[in-house]
Each structure stands twice: as C-alpha cells, then as structure tokens.
C-alpha cells in the first residue's frame, strides 16, 4: 500500500487556518491531522475538521451536475453532463441579458472556502465583466472593518503569538475555545506568567469559564462599556499623554465627548455594576502590556460599528501599542500583501453597477430592490443562504419563483441547493489547489491537493473558467491555470514576503510572513498607523466621507456607497430591540436572542454530517436561564417555540445558568430541514443594518419563548 503525507491548509472561515497533513493511501485520503510543525496549529485541528475525509467521501456529496425535474425546492434532480449544464446556463443568461440587462443576474457567495483563488473573489472578474449586480457581502466583520479603517487603518494589529507577553488580556465578544482555539495556548502561557484574563460576553462560555474575570454584559451594549472606560482613563488621568501627543489626533474632542459616558450611565445600559466598570478601566490602563482581542460577535447589533470605533481608541489612549503584546487584535489579514485588484478586476466593471446587499437576499428576490430589473438569475457558490440570512420566509418565496433561474455550486444538496435549477459539483479542499491567507495569524499557507477530484466535481477556479468559455469570453485572463492565478495573487516583491519561495511554501505548506517576530514586534510603537494622518484618529477624518463598505466585500466596486453621515467621534447607539429601547415590543417579546456560532459547526458547514450532529444535536437547540424556563413551564430537553412578529422556529430547550436572565442563545448553522417545522433561527432575526458597513444585526432581536 503506497502511503504518502500531503501538506495542505484548512479552507474554512476561521481565524486559525490550520496546516493539515492528509494521509493518502492508493489515491484515497484515509486520515487528516493537524501539522505538529506549524507553530499555531501545533498538531491539532478541531471538532469540525478532525474527520474531514468523512466530508470528502460522504455519500451525500453531489458529484455530477444536476438539473431540476420536480417543483422548485422539491430536491428532485436528474443528472446531466457538464456540457449540457453550461449550455443551459449560457443560453438562459444570454436571454436574460438581452431582455433585462445583466443587472438581472445576481451572484451570491461568501466563504465556504476562504482560499485566495477559490474563495471570496473567484467569481468577481466574471460578474464584473458581465455587468451583473454587485453582491455586497457584509455578513461578517464589515462594521468592524469600516470602524477599524476610520480609527487605526488597515493594520494587522498585535500578533496573536505576542500575547505571551501580555499582562492584561481582554477577550471581547470572542469564544476563543470554540472559534479560535489555537490561540488559547498563547493566552494560557501569558496567564502562567501572571497575566489576568478578562472575558466580556453575555454567556459564560467555555472560554469565559476559564477566565480570571468573566464580565456578563447585556447583548449589544458593549459600546457603553468601552466609552465608560474611555471616560474613566481620561478622568483619572491614566492616559499616556506622550503617546497621545505624538501619535493620535482628536484627543480633546474625544475627552469632551466621553464626559457624559459615566460608569453610572454604562451600568444602566450594560447591567454591569459601576464599580466593576471602574475596576476594569483602571486595571486595563495600569497593567501593561494590555491587549484587547475583539470577536466578530461584537458588531452584530445597531451600534456595532461605533462599538469597534470606541474599543479601537482604547489602546492608543493608554499607550498600549508601545509594548510587545499591547494593543488590539482583530484582523491580521491586512498583513498579507494580496493583489486584491487582480483578484477582483474592478477595472472590468461598467461605469455604473447596481449594488445589492446580499444578506438581504430574501428582500432582493421578492422585489425589494434599488432601481433596475428584477433578479432573473441567482448564482450561489461558497454559501448557504437558507441557513444563514434573515427574512427566511421571503427567501423561500423568492427561491421558489418559477421565473428565477438558480445555479448553485455545492458539496451537498443544502436547503439552498434544493431550490436550484442547476446544481454543479464542487471540490473539497483535499481535491483542489490554493494559497491561503489567515485572518487570525501571520502565516501564509499553501494547500497541495491530496487526491483527484471525485466524480465530475471541479474547483471554483475551474467552474469560472468553464462559465467564461460558455459565455464566449476570449480574454486569456479568464483561462489562467491555478498555478498562474496563485502566482498573480500575491505581491511577491512586498517586504512581507521576502525570503519566501513558492517551492519552499509548497513543500512545508506554510511560511511566516517576513515581519518582526512575536517577541519583538510592536507594530505601532511609534505610531505609523495606516490612516490619512498616519496617526490613530480618535476624531476620524474618513468618517467625514460617510458610511461605507470596504471594496473587498463589494467586488471592488467603490462607487455608490451608502454614504450616510457618520459622527467623526465615537458615540453610543443603543440596541434596536431590548426592553429599554423597545418597551412596547418587549411586552410581547421580552427576551433578547443572540445567535453565536455552534461549537461543532462552521457556519452551516457540518450541519448535515453525523460526527458533528452528535455533538451539536441534529436539531436546533436553544439555551435559556432556568428561571426564564421555569416561569414558562419549560423543562430541559422539551420542544419549544421561539417567536416574534417576523416569524417563529422550533427547537429543544437546554437550561443553563451560564446564560443571563432575559437572554436566549440559539447557535446558528442548523439546517432548515433538520429542525422541527423546518425553520432556523433566522425566521426571527431582523433585516436592519448596523450603523457602519451595512453589517447585520442578527443578535439585536427580541423574542418570546413558549412550550411547543
């Protein structure tokens, strides 16, 4: 038996981007394990990916193109050839373009894989060239990115490995042990050297359970806490005046703004006792090196953008950036010199394009559109909207439209794929080649394919080569090989890639960016913020241009941004839906629902696979405080209905005092068809945008719960 070990990298939407060793025997992948040589992976994967080979060889995999034969959504398909599939797609698109214009075509994708050539931007050049509607993909981190840009620019921030030097670590809205677990040993090492770990989270998660101090906070009120911390460090003169004078602008205005954000104000908003807020601010300011790691969850409410604006001001106020292991960690992706314009090709766009925000897909498919033609064709890849976006009843109605030509590229017949006219088989990470950035560490990774594609599955790069050919595009750009695309994807001359050769990268599978090491690197010791002024902008000059979504999430299209006025200084925006801000709604729907990630799923990936379903349950579970359950006659394990004016879903109740009274936790990612009555948590979530970056407000919602 010929056995070999192939080094690759995990494709998933996760900060850890692990290095994976796949054991291949006679052309078949028999096992995967974490690469022990990778300093972040350290020989471990996670519950999602430990049995990745079972995903690859699952009998549920779609391996051949399919054409719908039954009613939409019935899941009845016949196998067809790739030739027939491409011919049908091209014919339908040409007709649609002739009748309605290319804007009637809408791509929908996100990070089923986050590989650089198969991921976020793989379809952008084609859809830009066709002039299709721009899919504005702001599912995740968009408010944070916009807020970040406004304050400290696109900096990678603190190296996660530098946390070993930190003495005060705040994990803010981040459940590290479930969604960033490879970072944990660095935090643990810091604690063994005397660091204090603070976790801010409405729920006593696994991570919060191991903290020195868990601060439970009302969902969506984190900005009040951050602003009160600013208030306290200014008032008690715990700020670093030297750093502020040299490397920031707008301190006087920020100080004046922060005056009204007293600890008492924050205590009323957050439910955290005022003395604790004062203690947190004082400890944070006087225990260098102090570092804050924010999670994605921090932005999922009305004031999500300003929350990150406020938090991003804190390190500069206390001079935390001067120390190794001091500052802020949010998205190290900005350290990777990726040739984003080459990936997206915004230069191919017509002068004017229609922008549709795609987490509001339900609205878009049922006629709620900016000017222009109705959507006549939807192209879904790297995503599963039926599991992950709001207004699911609208989405179902939209997908069921007979006049909508839907193409879905997938591994499995997801709840979305069941509505397709054509399903196209996609390769998994073991069957494709890619190069990977990370948004959680500073290692570039190479994914060597371990096995040949199963059946007739193709990589996304190959899918779009075939679609380009079918549409008679003759620009050789659209027919480059994977190797050519990988070569073109990175700015190899950039100092961050110095000393990294493609040969070495393919062989070892990973290389650390050529930056200073984690024991020396303090990226903003001397300022050098990538902002217009080069300084940390408490008062943001970019904010004067109004609200925007970073072009990376909009196929590179920079025009027609939302543009609403944005206050140049951080300020508090209360949640849309809590008992204080929506008292009439709260009379009927008194509980705040949050929808974090499930420990065993990755978004909706693995929601259909047995090993992960064993851990997460096959059906949606919802966690309530025993008192909230008791007063409703709900016992552990019993079926419940969660509802508000938008809709309802059913689940099984878990009771736990880890959850705050008045808060209900419904982990996202369960499939529609798995749940009682076939609805997911997104039957109740709101379509409202957060304040910046058109981020969603999925955790800013009031519900009622009752026995089912």
């Amino acid at each position: 038996m010929a056995q070999s070990l192939v080094v690759g990298a995990c494709p998933h939407d996760c900060p850890d981007t692990c290095s994976i060793l796949t054991t291949v025997e006679d052309g078949k992948a028999v096992a995967v394990r974490g690469n022990p040589d990778h300093p972040f992976t350290r020989g471990r994967l996670c519950v999602k990916v430990n049995n990745y080979e079972e995903r690859v060889y699952s009998e549920q995999r779609v391996l051949y193109p399919l054409k719908r034969v039954g009613a939409k959504g019935s899941g009845s398909f016949n196998r067809i050839s790739w030739e027939e599939a491409l011919r049908e797609i091209a014919t339908r698109w040409r007709t649609i373009i002739a009748e309605s214009g290319a804007e009637a075509i809408l791509p929908y994708s996100y990070l089923g894989t986050q590989g650089i050539i198969n991921g976020l931007n793989v379809g952008d050049p084609l859809f830009n060239k066709l002039g299709a509607s721009v899919s504005e993909r702001t599912f995740c981190d968009s408010a944070s990115c916009t807020a970040y840009m406004m304050t400290i620019g696109h900096t990678p921030g603190v190296d996660p490995e530098s946390f070993v030097h930190s003495k005060y670590i705040i994990l803010w809205a981040c459940n590290t042990l479930s969604t960033n677990s490879h970072h944990w040993p660095f935090i643990e090492k810091a604690r063994k050297a005397g660091a204090k770990l603070v976790v801010i989270d409405p729920v006593r998660t696994r991570t919060a359970g191991l903290a020195d101090w868990h601060i439970q906070i009302r969902p969506g009120t984190d900005c009040a806490l951050a602003l009160a911390m600013i208030h306290i460090v200014v008032k008690e003169n715990l700020v670093d005046h030297d750093y502020i004078d040299k490397h920031t602008i707008g301190f006087d205005e920020l100080a004046a703004r922060a005056e009204s954000y007293t600890p008492e104000f924050a205590a009323r908003e957050t439910g955290i006792p005022a003395p604790d807020i004062v203690k947190l601010a004082r400890e944070y300011a006087t225990t260098p090196p102090a570092v804050v790691r924010i999670g994605v969850a921090v932005e999922r409410h009305a004031g999500g953008g300003q929350t990150v604006r406020a938090i991003a001001c804190l390190p500069a106020l206390i001079g935390a950036w001067k120390h190794v292991g001091g500052g802020l960690l949010q998205l190290p992706i900005w350290a990777f010199p990726v040739n984003w314009p080459t990936l997206m090709r915004p230069d191919l766009q017509p002068a004017k394009m229609r922008v549709i925000n795609t987490w509001r897909l339900g609205a878009a498919l049922t006629g709620d559109l900016p000017a222009g033609p109705p959507i006549k064709s939807l192209v879904v890849y790297n995503a599963n909207p039926m599991a992950m976006v709001t207004e699911q009843d609208k989405l179902e109605r939209g997908l069921a439209r007979e006049d909508l030509f839907t193409v879905v590229s997938e591994h499995f017949l997801t709840d979305t794929a069941k509505y397709a006219d054509i399903v196209l088989p996609a390769t998994t990470q073991l069957e494709q080649k890619d190069i990977m950035f990370s948004w959680g560490h500073l290692y570039l990774s190479y994914n060597n394919p371990a096995i040949a594609p199963l059946g007739e599955a193709v990589s996304n790069t190959e899918l779009f080569r075939r679609l380009a050919a079918a549409m008679d595009i003759d620009d050789p750009f659209f027919f480059r090989s994977d190797d050519e695309m990988i070569e073109a994807s990175m700015d190899w001359a950039n100092p961050a890639l110095q000393g990294i050769s493609m040969e070495q990268l393919k062989q070892t599978g990973f290389a650390r960016l050529s930056l200073q090491g984690p024991d020396e690197w303090a990226p903003h010791r001397d300022g050098n913020f990538p902002t217009p002024s080069g300084k940390c902008e408490f008062k943001s000059s970019i904010a004067e241009g109004g609200n925007f979504v970073v072009p990376l999430f909009r196929q590179g299209y920079g025009a027609d941004q939302a543009g609403e006025p944005v206050d140049p200084l951080p300020h508090y925006i209360a949640p849309n839906e809590n008992p204080a801000t929506a008292p009439m709604k709260a009379e009927h729907y008194p509980l705040n629902l949050i929808s974090p990630k499930s420990h065993a799923f990755l978004n909706s990936n693995y929601g259909n696979l047995p090993a992960q379903q064993v851990l997460a349950g096959e059906q949606q579970m919802v966690i309530l405080h025993p008192e909230d359950a008791g007063s409703r006659g709900i016992v552990a394990g019993s079926p419940i209905r969660v509802f508000n004016e938008r809709g309802s879903f059913e689940a099984f109740a878990t009771l736990s005092a880890d959850v705050m009274r008045g808060v209900v936790v419904a982990p996202a990612g369960y499939w529609h068809r798995s749940n009682r009555r076939g609805a997911t948590v997104h039957a109740v979530t709101p379509p409202a945008y957060a304040d910046l970056g058109r981020a969603p407000t999925f955790s800013d919602v009031l519900v009622q719960v009752a026995t089912a």
């Binding site: 350290r42 020989g43 471990r44 519950v47």
Partner: protein
C-alpha cells in the same frame, strides 16, 4: 461528546496526550489518564499523539468500550489534573510493541 481514554492506556500511560492538550483536561492515576468531558474542547490533538491509539471520540467507541465514557467522567472528578508529560510506566515500550503487532 468529547474524547475518551480507553483501557489501551493502562500499563503504558505515555502521557504524550498531555503535552498536546491545549486546555489541560487530562487527569491521572497510577494506571492511566482520563479526559474531563467538561473541559475537553474536542480538538482531537490527543488522538494521533497517543503511541498506542488509546484515545477515541466518544461516539466512535465500539460497543465493548462505551463504558469508558462514564469511567473518564467519574475518574476525572476523582483524580488530579496532569499538566506535563511524565515518564511512561515500566514495561510500556514492550507493551506498545505487542499492541502494534496485533
């Protein structure tokens, strides 16, 4: 359901598992190690680290080993945490060779 140490550990107790675990969820007695199911984060790093393959995901245990789920839970509550690798028990290498030959 997390990971579980089975009777294959007893007699060797290499503790390679302990050096990989990111959350220090291993407990120990004179015979073998145990995984605390409350602290295990299902990372699976211990599985390939064990020289004799003693660790399995709970739901993948053969019927005659299912009892080890409860044993791990009970014994983890009764025994101290082990945070660093220890020398294996006497005779461990011979025992390992016998297991691998099987």
């Amino acid at each position: 359901m997390p990971y579980v140490v089975t009777d294959l550990c007893a007699g060797c107790r290499y503790t390679e598992c302990v050096s990989v675990c990111p959350v220090e969820c291993f407990h120990i007695d004179d015979t073998m190690t145990y995984i605390d199911p409350e602290n295990c984060i299902d990372c699976g790093g211990c599985v390939p680290a064990c020289p004799v393959g003693a660790i399995k995901a709970a739901h993948k245990l053969p019927p005659d080993k299912v009892e080890w789920v409860e044993t791990n839970r009970r014994r983890a509550a009764e025994t101290p945490v082990v945070t660093s690798r220890l020398p294996p028990l006497p005779g461990a290498d011979e025992r390992k060779r016998a297991i691998i030959r099987r």
